[in-house]
Symmetry: C2
């Protein structure tokens, strides 16, 4: 094990290590451009992922490359920033050292002066890890391509299945959890079934596929206003999605899910129910909240360690006695804020006041041309909300040069109903990747 | 094991089974549209792959979805055609039965009246299967994404490699075989190094990467006229590719290749040297030629079995005492021809005369804006040849609705040098897929 070498010109500079190139980490790195510091951004993939559109990869509308940008490319002009493809193994707070597993090199250490932890969340089975095998979740690109293969293979297998009951199992898609991801996926599978796959099968009619959205709580999109929830539910019904609320999943196996002792037979169950934070609290030996997130102070640092910041979904920032929601906007704004704090410290200026979250609202899209949108007291639904949704998402992707591709693809799909990326890329004989990678 | 069920309306129709949805199989299926027959197209993937552009996926210019179209979508309007996701396990000529491994169902049989085998080739190590692990070849989409990950990871690993010698190993890319694939990949890696990755690394300069193209024969692009070979070689030199001709690879291990007793150290060796046919000859108990291809008669059927046709790369059709080359055009023309023969037989008409190959020439592209092209006695090189190459390839992709995407991407890459799909999608900790899938 050795210390990661540094370039000669940066030896006298303070080192700012940022772990995670999601919305939070990337915003922090960008905010430190031109600072007299050596910024080291660590991620276990080579790309920044636009997670809000990941469900469109899982449902074959967009290709992986449409929503992922190489981190190096995004930060090419940040001359003070290095990117390292590595996974965090541990953090030594007292020695100010990261223990990394660097791609191709094994364990190495990295000494830092400042540390920004932005490692996000992974999907959670709330203690039922045995569900993972039969109900994959959606967080990384590999999850999305693996779920895409499962959905497409289910139609393929149904086409050559002589037994009626097994055929119906194959044509039943269950989504567990009716938050934005569950609702958006349900809508997207409904459109795939109704339009994209239409006329392509000879023995089955994809329209007979059932899509069941299961929610433990009393309504879909629980974080939205109740009237938007009911609008969303109505729209899902129009698309042919069966919504079951107040339904708690008791078991998941390879033939379906059990709810209230009753079995819903399905060969494709997708877990959209919940997330748990990265092990940041354990790495930092910091006090976690009940959900496992690191509690942070008003400047996003952890108590007793003003040099360590935790931002985004893996942190718990309390505002008015409640933690901020785990959404992209919080992570981005916190990342930007921490960069501002660090700029002030590096330049010996007075640091800014406490972090304040500016809520720009939330959105969920349900099929083609329909979305719900809530900004403070403003609530919108239907086509206008969808246009706003599409514009905002394109504007964000534009930063990474993916706008043209996504715009082209969306326009194409919108008018032709042809998917952008309907590929099963796994060899037939191989175990689906989801089984091993999400276990 | 059971017989694949047939739809009730097709029980009285003759069954035409087509194995393989490459250029040959797809052309045959398309040519049988509107015939009073049940056409069953079997492939082990769900997509038709435009192999001539596969190297652009391996070098991160195009995304997999840009060059792959779902077979069902392509044939949606062929109402008499079913598509089955399955692998062939064997063929019983006498009982006219295919033994298939159907996705999700295991072994099933399919009885046919006519059979078209179009199963193509895979890359070959000429008896050195032990090379496969360290020198992956390029035939399927998974090969391309796995090679893409290897190339990109080599740059990532070099960036954090303190040892100069290992760093140079990581920055040395060896291509074994200077046919069109080897030449095109060498050009594409050269551009990736010189333009796309420029300014993105802090410790290495991607420009110092070596690209070595090794050819056992006396010149690159041996199937082209000698003056085009030398033009191509000159262009490769301008791009910084080192070409070694008359060089036979004696060994490949994880640290490089051995040629004439001398070791070239490299951590990324790619096999572009040769192909071998699918096991069609063994399935059919038919006489193979020395390369393992099935010898076919003047109507592409095999001796003694007028109901069995073999087309494309896996067949040997002799014209003027020489087998036709293993290129897309031969497969497409043979597929179309066999459909014509079958149409005549189904309708009780006189079948057409022997198959005649119409050579529309060959092309290879070497980096941005340069290609060589040979049609009969016409030879072109440079930008005009590249424009023709781009037009023809776009025209072909247009049939599958991918034209807009590819055109957008090429235009974007041409002007910005930004790659379309520079993703490493494998988890860091997992063994690269190439190791297991190409072994």
């Amino acid at each position: 094990m050795s210390e990661i070498p540094i370039t000669s010109e940066s030896k006298s500079q303070p080192v700012i290590a940022i772990v995670g190139a999601g919305f939070g980490g990337l915003a922090a790195a960008k905010g430190l451009r031109k600072q007299n510091a050596r910024v080291v951004l660590i991620d276990r993939t080579n790309h920044h992922l636009f997670q809000p559109l990941l469900y469109q990869v899982a449902t074959a509308t967009l290709a992986p490359a449409d929503i992922a940008a190489p981190i190096r490319q995004v930060l090419a002009r940040n001359k003070n920033t290095e990117v390292i493809l590595a996974e965090v193994r541990g953090i030594d707070r007292d020695r100010r050292q990261l223990l990394l597993d660097v791609a191709g090199h094994g364990e190495e250490t990295l000494s830092y002066d400042y540390l920004v932890v932005a490692t996000g969340v992974r999907h959670s089975y709330f203690g039922h890890e045995e569900f993972a095998k039969n109900a994959p979740g959606l967080k990384a690109l590999t999850d999305a391509t693996s779920i895409r293969a499962r959905i497409l293979k289910a139609f393929e297998m149904a086409e050559s299945e002589p037994d009626a009951r097994r055929r119906q199992q194959l044509l039943t898609f269950v989504l567990v959890g009716a938050g934005p991801t569950g609702v958006e996926m349900a809508g997207a599978i409904a459109e795939l079934r109704r339009f994209t796959l239409r006329r392509e099968f000879r023995r089955i009619d994809p329209n007979y596929a059932r899509i069941i959205l299961i929610e433990a709580g009393p309504r879909v999109l629980a974080t939205f206003a109740p009237d938007l929830s009911s609008k969303a539910e109505k729209r899902l019904g129009q698309l042919g999605v069966e919504v079951m609320t107040n339904a708690r999943v008791e078991d998941v196996d390879e033939t379906g899910v059990t709810i209230g002792g009753r079995k819903i037979e399905s060969r494709t169950v997708i877990w959209t129910a919940g997330v748990e934070p990265s092990p940041a609290a354990a790495w930092l030996a910091a006090a976690p909240d009940r959900a496992g997130r690191v509690k942070v102070q008003q400047d996003c640092s952890i108590p007793g360690h003003p040099e360590i910041f935790v931002v985004g979904d893996t942190s718990n920032f309390e505002e008015n006695g409640k933690p901020l929601p785990g959404v992209a906007q919080v992570a981005m704004q916190q990342g930007r804020y921490v960069a501002k704090v660090l700029r002030a410290r590096l330049q010996g200026r007075t640091p800014p006041g406490p972090f304040r979250y500016f809520d720009i609202g939330s959105m969920a899209v349900i099929g083609r041309g329909f979305a719900v949108l809530e900004v403070g007291k403003i609530r919108l639904r239907g086509y206008p909300a969808w246009l706003i949704w599409a514009t905002i998402h394109l504007a964000y992707l534009a930063q990474f040069g993916n706008r043209l591709r996504v715009l082209t693809q969306w326009a194409w799909t919108y008018f032709t109903h042809q998917s952008g990326s309907r590929l099963i890329v796994e060899p037939l004989t191989e175990t689906p990747r989801a089984k091993s990678s999400s276990a």
